[in-house]
């Protein structure tokens, strides 16, 4: 027999694993299985090339737990899909797309279904393998050359010696009564080690460690800083042969990359035909009146007060007396001999400014005067006029008397 070639022990000396009966047809093995089942054996099995119809009942195999495992996996998949979609799209990274609600069941059903199926499929295959004790690299039956036919055309029945009902003589006789084609002993497998070969173990350890190396580099890159530019594996569109704004371009005579608009070009909304409103001029002379478009109202004055607080008060002070924070600081530095020359901001409450036409004040804000920079680019036309209207109110306040108030206001003061 072939197992003799491998074995240092003869089958006689090796302990008995079980008794193996071979049959030629599915009908015979069904008959035999019923006999063994009825004799009360528990640690036995049949080996067939295909699932023989009716063998479960003939052997008394109970229904597997597999469907319950798959059900658990299905519910886990469903819960995972719900949590994944809800947490990512509602909690962690919410954004509105096409006016759709952040969370609605119908939009999330497809992924719920797919993950339910995905988890179930893994559980069905994985559960089957685990319950079947697979992968199983070696088995005493592998030493039986004849047993290779179990995946081809023969049907085998093995009763193991570990079965409580097993008896060296009776079991053999019982099997013989089922008319097997062949009946013989299966010795324990003594020469096939249960342990993995050493080179496989070391190989797996080395591969596992090697597999972690890239992740170690990722982790290092995320934890440390570097002044080197990042490595451009994929260039995307980071380097493009093009001229950017404010750069030189030798293709043009003026070497500007940015082209100037044609002469006479007017951007939309920038025609500005009303000189009174936009330049503070009436017939070429500074206007003494506010333009028609600026409504004298408390809203305008309040708007002006707010803008004045932002743009003017830092130097001119909230009262307009020229004592803003910037001036105070500069004056202090000058006194300490740290800073050089400092031209103090104009006192807006002085007589000359009181008499200055509003058009000239507008011009000063727009284009700047002496040390004061131009504010035309950052304060809109309407806001500049509002600031001036507030300034007029501020100036008026300095010279106001009780007589300017209405009787009601006067009584309110008491």
């Amino acid at each position: 027999m072939s197992e003799d070639q491998h074995s240092p022990e003869t089958p006689e000396t090796a302990p008995l694993h079980g008794v193996l009966a071979e049959y030629n047809t599915p009908g015979e093995i069904l008959e035999a299985a019923r006999v063994i089942r009825d004799a009360g054996y528990t640690k036995w099995d049949t080996y067939t090339p295909f699932p023989v119809h009716g063998i479960d009942a003939a052997m008394g195999i109970k229904m597997t737990r597999l469907p319950w495992i798959v059900l658990c996996a299905a519910l886990t998949g469903l819960a995972t899909a719900i949590l994944l979609q809800w947490w990512t799209n509602v909690i962690d990274y919410p954004f509105v797309i096409s006016g759709k609600p952040m969370w609605s069941i119908p939009a999330n059903v497809p992924v719920m279904f797919e993950l339910t199926v995905l988890f179930s499929a893994f559980a069905a295959l994985g559960g089957m393998l685990v319950l079947n004790n697979l992968p199983l690299p070696s088995h005493p039956l592998d030493l039986k050359e004849r047993f290779a036919k179990s995946t081809d055309d023969k049907f085998f029945l093995l009763i193991t010696a570990a079965d409580p009902v097993f008896d060296d003589k009776d079991t053999r006789e019982l099997l013989q009564s089922t008319h097997p084609a062949v009946l013989d002993d299966v010795p324990e497998d003594r020469q096939t080690s249960d342990k993995l070969p050493r080179f496989v173990v070391y190989g797996m350890i080395i591969l596992t460690v090697a597999a972690l190396i890239p992740f170690a580099f990722f982790a290092k890159a995320r934890m440390t800083q570097t002044r080197d530019p990042r490595i451009h594996v994929i260039w995307d569109m980071d380097f493009q042969p093009k001229y950017k704004a404010q750069r030189e371009n030798p293709l043009f005579e003026d070497h500007r990359a940015m082209r100037l608009p044609l002469d006479g070009t007017v951007a939309v909304g920038h025609l500005k035909t009303d000189d009174h409103l936009n330049k503070g001029l009436v017939d070429g002379v500074f206007a003494r009146t506010f333009p028609r478009d600026i409504t004298p109202s408390s809203e305008t004055i309040e708007r002006g007060q707010e803008r004045f607080g932002i743009y003017c008060a830092p130097c001119h002070g909230y009262s307009g007396a020229g004592d803003g924070m910037v001036h105070k600081r500069a004056a202090a530095l000058q006194e300490a001999g740290v800073a050089g020359s400092w031209v103090p901001p104009t006192n807006l409450q002085q007589q000359t400014l009181y008499e200055q036409p509003v058009g000239q004040l507008f011009d000063s804000i727009t284009n700047g005067v002496r040390n004061m920079p131009a504010y035309g680019h950052s304060v809109s036309v309407e806001d500049r006029w509002a600031i001036i209207m507030y300034l007029r109110a501020l100036q008026r306040m300095r010279v106001a008397s009780l007589g300017d108030l209405t009787p009601e206001e006067r009584s309110a003061l008491k």
Binding site: Y47, P51, I55, I61, T88, K100, S120, D152
Partner: protein, 456 residues
């Protein structure tokens, strides 16, 4: 089931002394032959040529950008998405045969289910490569998956395109699991017949120590049933979700509720045609005529006839609904399909998908391998044109004439399309050569010899 058990393709075939050994031998001999058939070498060489064209055209596209394709607004989808829908559809027949026909106890499926499943997986691989390259930056497809990243961003689960990622991903994974599980007992057969150490170790590893214990078979069959039960709604969901890409948009010609069932019917139709295209030569050159019989081909031709009629019904119903809806744009979209800029593609589709399968009303045509093969090829051409018609007519002619455009595919488009067949056939030919082409244990289980003396 009475009807199902009547369909036994092996009735009338003389039984040998040992039918089980013959079945094992028939299938295993293909993989064990020292040299395959000369036709295999020729086909494999041709497939590799096409595959290198696929790789080359994709590499050219990646280097130069997707401007090398004909995709141009308003047709931003073009060939890549046409090919994607085409290949995903092909896959459906495999799952239908392996899962739905299993649940319906159509036992004749056992002869063809294995390579129909293989076809599914290879078709899904071809399909998945197209959205991968269509995103324009093929190094960023992981953005489609919910992976925590340094950008702090997540995919948008309210989009049908994201549903697609999950549907096609699940479909591919479940198909592979189903396919692999079905092969475990057959790998064990190969292992036990192996004459060389390499074969014994290689098939031994993938067989995972399967020894055909009845206690294992019990759980195995239960797992198979469960997988089939999940794969059945899954296969119906996949092409439905693919059709949502179109149906949930506002575009005339896309925005229709008939799309999900119509897409699924078309997918099964095209998939069965592809099974025929593969089965006819495979049984011829690998000596599988005793396992895949003419009766099998005839039954599949009946499925092609039935699903072809369903698809024809869908084409008619689309026209009817366009008229019945009273929606001007919808009516224009469908008139334009039949008589507009792509009318030639529309009528090619009608001829291939509706007219050509009608020959299968005749038994002589159903049982003739040449007619089967020819119609299989024609139907595949037709199903490709169906997707082309849906995508290109609708996109080139939408609401405003000012946004109308043209679609002109480039040579790179054609090379990528034909190259994808190279990927498909390369994988399929490798499968034929090295893996069990037919489900050995399943064919045995449903062979009449397995049921003799079974009931006492």
């Amino acid at each position: 089931m009475a009807i199902a058990s009547n369909i036994n393709p092996y009735q009338g075939i003389p039984k040998g002394d040992n039918p089980f050994a013959q079945i094992t031998d028939n299938v295993a001999r293909v993989a064990e032959a020292p040299k395959p058939h000369i036709v295999w070498y020729i086909s494999f060489g041709f497939a590799l040529l096409l595959l290198s064209m696929f790789g080359g055209s994709i590499a050219y596209m990646v280097w130069n950008g997707i401007g090398v394709w004909g995709n141009m607004l308003p047709v931003a989808w073009g060939f890549p998405i046409v090919n994607f829908v085409f290949w995903v559809g092909i896959g459906h027949a495999g799952t239908l045969i392996s899962a739905i026909l299993f649940l319906l106890r159509q036992n004749w499926r056992t002869a063809i289910n294995r390579f129909a499943e293989a076809m599914t997986i290879f078709a899904v691989i071809c399909a998945a490569s197209f959205p991968g390259i269509h995103i324009g930056r093929p190094w960023l497809p992981y953005w489609m998956f919910p992976i925590p990243n340094q950008m702090g961003m997540w995919p948008q689960f309210r989009s049908p395109l994201e549903w697609d990622v999950f549907a096609v991903g699940t479909y591919a994974t479940v198909s592979i699991l189903f396919w692999y599980m079905g092969m475990i007992p057959d790998f064990a057969s190969f292992r036990d017949r192996a004459t060389t150490t390499v074969r014994r170790v290689a098939y031994g590893i993938v067989a995972m120590g399967w020894r055909g214990s009845s206690r294992q078979w019990h759980r195995y069959e239960r797992a198979y049933l469960l997988l089939a039960a999940f794969a059945t709604p899954l296969v119906l969901s996949v092409h439905s979700v693919v059709s949502f890409d179109f149906a949930t948009s506002q575009l005339p010609g896309w925005h229709t509720t008939i799309f999900p069932p119509y897409f699924v019917a078309g997918a099964i139709f095209g998939g069965f045609a592809m099974v025929q295209v593969l089965a006819v030569p495979a049984r011829e050159f690998f000596g599988l005529k005793r396992i895949i019989t003419i009766r099998h081909l005839e039954l599949m031709n009946k499925v092609i006839l039935a699903t072809g009629m369903l698809v024809g019904y869908a084409y008619g119903m689309e026209m009817f609904i366009a008229w019945y809806s009273g929606a001007l744009y919808e009516q224009f979209a469908f008139l334009n399909r039949a008589f507009g800029n792509f009318a030639w593609a529309y009528w090619t589709m009608i001829f291939c998908n509706v007219v050509s399968p009608q020959v299968f009303w005749f038994k002589k045509a159903r049982t003739n391998v040449w007619i089967t093969l020819l119609v299989g090829v024609i139907v595949n051409v037709g199903m490709w044109f169906e997707r082309f018609v849906i995508i290109c007519t609708s996109l080139t002619r939408d609401f405003l004439p000012s946004s109308w455009g043209a679609f002109i595919p480039t040579p790179v488009d054609y090379m990528t399309l034909s190259g994808s067949f190279g990927l498909f056939f390369t994988l399929f030919l490798l499968f034929c050569r090295y893996l069990p082409m037919c489900a050995i244990s399943e064919v045995k289980a449903f062979h009449p010899a397995a049921h003799e003396h079974a009931h006492h």
